[in-house]
């Protein structure tokens, strides 16, 4: 418990030790620690960035998928519509054609009827004359009664 010059020697040793630590020991150790800290922070940041990239890529992929689906649906709908229109057109064309054919047939029939009626008229006149001849038992002058006969023909 006595004080002596050891005190000052210890003081000098103390400062020498601290100086050496400050010069040669502390900087590399703390430098390594800080560099590793930065490395880890960078790594974590890169990981987080990668995760964000993945998320946005997934979102983009989803978006593209959805757009493609929509487009496909649109195309299908359009083609269905087009098909329906084509069918409708075909139906209309067929109906028109059918009506045209039917009309033509009706016209033909009408014409035939007219022709038959004409022939009938002609023959009716002949028959009527022949019948009248028979009834009257005499010759009727066709020229003389032509006017009357024509009138009769018109009435048929």
């Amino acid at each position: 418990m006595s004080i002596n010059a050891t005190l000052f020697i210890q003081l000098i040793v103390f400062f020498i030790g601290v100086m050496i630590t400050m010069k040669f020991i502390w900087p590399p150790l703390i430098g390594a620690l800080e560099a590793r800290q930065k490395k880890i922070a960078d790594g974590l940041a890169a990981g987080e960035r990668g995760r964000q990239d993945l998320l946005s890529a997934e979102k983009r992929a989803h978006e593209a998928d959805r757009a493609a689906r929509e487009r496909a649906q649109e195309i299908v709908a359009q083609s269905e519509k087009r098909a329906a229109a084509v069918i409708e057109e075909a139906k209309v064309a067929a109906r028109t054609e059918a009506e045209r054919i039917a009309a033509a047939a009706r016209a033909d029939v009408e014409q035939e009827v007219q022709r038959a009626r004409q022939m009938l008229r002609d023959q009716v006149a002949v028959l009527a004359v022949a019948g009248a001849e028979r009834i009257l038992k005499r010759e009727v002058d066709p020229q003389a009664h032509a006017q009357m006969l024509t009138a009769l023909k018109q009435e048929l």
């Binding site: 002596n4 000052f8 210890q10 003081l11 040793v13 030790g17 630590t21 040669f24 502390w26 590399p28």
Partner: protein, 286 residues
């Protein structure tokens, strides 16, 4: 050496012998600056050398990649010191953080000498003394624990005091430092100047003395207890009391050794923390 000198001290002589320093000359008064404790200086320097070698070995191979287990262990210390110094000292820590690291590891090393058997190093010294100079074992003194020497601990706390003054002047300027000496804590009234100055003087002295005394007291008490425990083994004999004493020494020695591991680390940590706190206070203005 048994035939050369049979040395059988009684209990008091044993302890007094263990508490005597290896000195350049026998100290007569309480304060005598012509005397140097060679053992304290020797073991302080050895411990410092070991500390610096250990830390330098880690620093030399320090890498920011995957650290070795040794590097990781040293890095734990560095990080502890860095965190503590950052939270306590607000300012440039290029000197202060290495200071704290050195103080902590160095004091742990010095305190750890206390964990060696109390008679080991003195006996080795006695052997050396006898072979080298033919000295009688009774005249060879060695107290290997530098932190149980008040000179050792006060030397370090004196260093801390000088640093407190240095940083006080550096941060506040000479004018600011002197202003604070006279105007804090009571106030700037001229009548209060003597009281302020006196209080500041006492505060600085108390900080330095308590810092050194705390470490010294703990280690001195621990050392003394080890002497007393070792003393029990000195009375071992082939009778009931003697055998019981041997057991007592083993049990008490083990218990105190385990407890002392805590004190070794704790006191080193406290010294480091107080060093930081005192230097941190020098950075703050009142």
């Amino acid at each position: 050496m048994a035939d050369a000198h049979v040395y059988a001290p009684n209990a008091t002589e044993y302890i007094v012998h263990h508490l005597a320093h290896w000195q350049t000359s026998k100290q007569q008064s309480i304060v005598d600056f012509s005397v140097i404790n060679i053992d304290t200086v020797l073991f302080s320097v050895l411990c410092l050398g070991l500390t610096l070698w250990l830390l330098y070995a880690a620093a030399k191979r320090a890498t920011s990649g995957i650290p070795t287990k040794f590097q990781a262990a040293i890095e734990i210390l560095v990080e502890l010191v860095e965190d503590q110094s950052r939270s306590i000292v607000h300012g440039n820590r290029a000197f202060i953080a290495p200071l704290a690291l050195t103080v902590f590891v160095w004091i742990v090393m010095m305190n750890a000498i206390d964990l060696l058997p109390v008679d080991l190093l003195p006996k080795i010294a006695a052997l050396f003394g006898w072979y080298a100079a033919g000295a009688d074992a009774h005249d060879v003194y060695l107290r290997p624990l530098p932190t149980a020497d008040l000179n050792g601990t006060l030397g370090m706390s004196l260093g801390v005091l000088l640093l407190m003054l240095y940083y006080g002047v550096k941060i506040k300027g000479v004018g600011g430092f002197i202003h604070e000496l006279f105007c804090a804590p009571f106030g700037a009234h001229p009548l209060l100047w003597p009281a302020n100055f006196l209080l500041n003087l006492i505060e600085y002295l108390a900080k330095m003395v308590s810092l050194g005394m705390r470490l010294f007291g703990n280690m001195y008490a621990g050392e003394l207890l080890f002497f007393l425990i070792a003393l029990m083994g000195g009375y071992v004999a082939l009778n009931t009391t003697g055998v019981l004493l041997a057991f007592a020494q083993v049990i008490a020695g083990t218990a105190w050794l385990m407890f002392h591991i805590l004190i070794v680390l704790l006191q080193a940590f406290i010294f480091m923390m107080l060093t930081l706190v005192y230097i941190g206070q020098a950075h703050e203005s009142h």
